[in-house]
Symmetry: C2
Subunit: 417 residues, 2 copies
């Protein structure tokens, strides 16, 4: 559909796009030769040759002959192209419950520095929370050991709702504060372009890079933690809502007028499957009981008890599975079934959740082929979020470097040609 915007393609866009294509091919493939890139992009060898010569000359790519130490093949050996780690660096900031972590990553994707810090996010006043974030970033940026290319981009990830333009945190479970424009704050503070990303979206991005076989075109990442979040990739593209970012899967309605959710409403999926909900149910508390924070250790202990013997604990996980199953069923009714990754502390208890989940999903329209739907689990969400932020920032740089690339080439001159 060419319905929406009809922006013509200029002649110079061509080079810009094809440069981006080459960079992205290198980032994905590791150390592809020029011939390989020509094959994957469909461009001619001459074009790849010209573009990669430019990119090498500009310091974005490097030639690394060590593709295969023992080149058994005949013919001129392939020269692997790699991202030049020093071409740029990016910085990730992940703010989660009582925890703040920052990492500096080089252009090739390697972590070159990191710092972590505990803080009391639930009670910190606005300026202190912002101050803590700014301070930790400043420490990393001013580190004299850090001798890489300047940091070209900051990606900050947070649990909660962010706006579509990736500028602000609108709401988060980790703090009572709302509407903090973190991206703008970091950008004006450090003069580095920044974005504010949703944690579950970043999980999805990370999965796409970690296992492109399984997580390619369509898949779902679900965070099973205190709250229930979702990152959704459709047709290879991260799906974000039209206004805010991130589908609020956890707040789809499971039972109208049902259990009390942390969001204040009733009957949300989260009100049955969030950590606090499982805890509440396992402790035989009322469905109206105010949600309480439950530590990861407590949740692991709860899961252990549920595995030990049948009882309220096991029943609580069963009910969580049911809620997730019906929620997924409704989701699958809309988007058709896709692979699912369960992430977070309760993903470690997925064995307790899965039977009821599958049973529920089988009762829904989306669950027609429920047995073929596959689930994967990853108990630790933080590394995923950070990876996702890093890749998000790096691909942003990839796409920003080629546009100024035209200017950069003009500046550097062509003493090679």
């Amino acid at each position: 559909m060419f319905q929406t915007m009809s922006v013509g393609i200029r002649h110079d866009d061509l080079r810009r796009r094809n440069r981006a294509m080459v960079i992205s091919a290198v980032r994905r493939a590791g150390q592809p030769s020029r011939t390989e890139i020509a094959a994957t992009t469909g461009l001619s060898h001459s074009t790849i040759s010209a573009i990669s010569a430019d990119l090498i000359q500009e310091g974005i790519l490097t030639e690394s002959k060590a593709t295969e130490p023992t080149a058994l093949k005949r013919g001129r050996p392939q020269i692997g192209l790699a991202l030049n780690p020093e071409a740029a660096a990016v910085l990730t900031v992940v703010l989660s419950l009582n925890f703040l972590s920052v990492a500096v990553i080089d252009y090739a994707g390697q972590v070159v520095a990191e710092e972590q810090q505990r803080l009391d996010t639930l009670v910190m006043p606005r300026d202190e929370l912002i101050g803590a974030c700014v301070a930790i970033v400043r420490r990393r940026l001013q580190d004299p050991d850090l001798d890489l290319g300047s940091v070209a981009r900051i990606a900050m990830g947070i649990q909660g709702i962010t706006d579509t333009h990736a500028r602000a945190m609108l709401w988060s479970p980790i703090t009572p504060l709302t509407d903090i424009p973190f991206a703008d704050i970091l950008e004006t503070e450090f003069g580095i372009p920044a974005t504010m990303e949703n944690d579950c979206n970043m999980m999805a991005v990370a999965l796409q890079w970690r296992d492109p076989e399984r997580y390619r075109d369509d898949f779902i990442a679900i965070l099973l933690s205190h709250g229930i979040g979702m990152g959704l990739v459709l047709k290879g593209t991260l799906f974000t809502g039209t206004h805010s970012s991130g589908g609020e899967f956890g707040h789809m309605i499971h039972r109208p007028g049902g259990a009390l959710c942390r969001c204040g409403r009733r009957g949300c999926v989260e009100a049955y499957a969030g950590n606090y909900a499982i805890w509440r149910s396992a402790m035989n508390m009322s469905e109206d009981a105010e949600p309480v924070d439950v530590g990861d250790a407590d949740m692991r202990a709860l899961a252990a008890r549920a595995r030990e013997k049948d009882g309220p604990e096991r029943e609580a996980y069963r009910r969580a599975g049911e809620a997730l199953g019906f929620g997924l069923g409704s989701l699958f009714a809309l988007i058709d079934p896709a692979p699912v990754a369960m992430v977070g502390v309760s993903a470690a208890a997925f064995d307790l959740i899965e039977p009821a989940l599958r049973e529920a999903i089988a009762q829904t329209a989306g669950g027609q082929h429920s047995t073929s739907i596959s689930f994967d689990t990853e108990p630790n969400e933080l590394p995923l979020i950070r990876e996702g932020c890093a890749m998000r920032a790096l691909t942003f740089v990839d796409q920003e470097i080629f546009a100024p690339g035209v200017q950069a080439r003009a500046i550097s001159g062509k003493h090679v040609a």
Copy 2:
């Protein structure tokens, strides 16, 4: 995200795309001048001039000076460009419950011929149903009065589930038959490219053309008829599932284990809001009662009774509204609120549905700004579906004409230049 596919842009793609851009600009704007097109596409005047000269020479566009009869402006008057009605024609086939209709539409979008037919879709055997469709299309194609350019494309619309590739009807409420590859059948029968489209998707496409102000980037078309269907446009693009086409909004779960749905499952939104569900409820029948077909006239009478006095009829509409509200709420939790168009016979009873719908939606995460969500109604779905099919077919032609356009130009030669 350049993640998925990295197909480089060839040099000739450029022209192809820009040609498509010009055609689409003309189709949308009506009779734009070259200057207007240059402005909307962002391409230079020279380029637009060159491309439109080609398109006129190929008979795709025509110059129509009658932009404004009284040109009060100074300067050389603008020459309006219009689609040449004779450049091509498309054919639409809409198959609905007991009804089959076909229309021939010229390249400018005007209906030039049509034919309709009653048939008994619910009991027809497979070959008869297919035969009826083929026969009616053949009659239209062989009509001697039809003196237009040859039919370049067929778009067939049907209620039900179609596959992603728009080739086959997988399942439909209008017939017990399944998996009929209508697109392939028509294509091999007539040698004309054909597609199989979902009715609600076509409704959405039609709305996008009818009222581009209101229905542009994000909106939802919901069919309130025997069944409940949905067409969803996100970021200007029709959203189709990853496997089948069309979000099965009607089969999102409203109440786990609840009322019996036509699909055989329980608790779907449709089991509360479909015509049969409203009827069942109004007649005080059990929620387990087998769904029955209810005629449009009966539904209108039912609505009239509900308006007259409070009673089971009114309560039935209230419950329908509730189901739709919670369903929309869950949907809005995923995609954020967007304008909604209610289409179909029960849309005429939206006054009875709306209060409960708004009440329900206000209890959901997506309904945060529920008062700002606006609903529009359109009781007659068939014209919308046909319009959608027509536009779908025409835009396909738009995008196919430019690719052969390169060859066509070579054939026709350039006696103008």
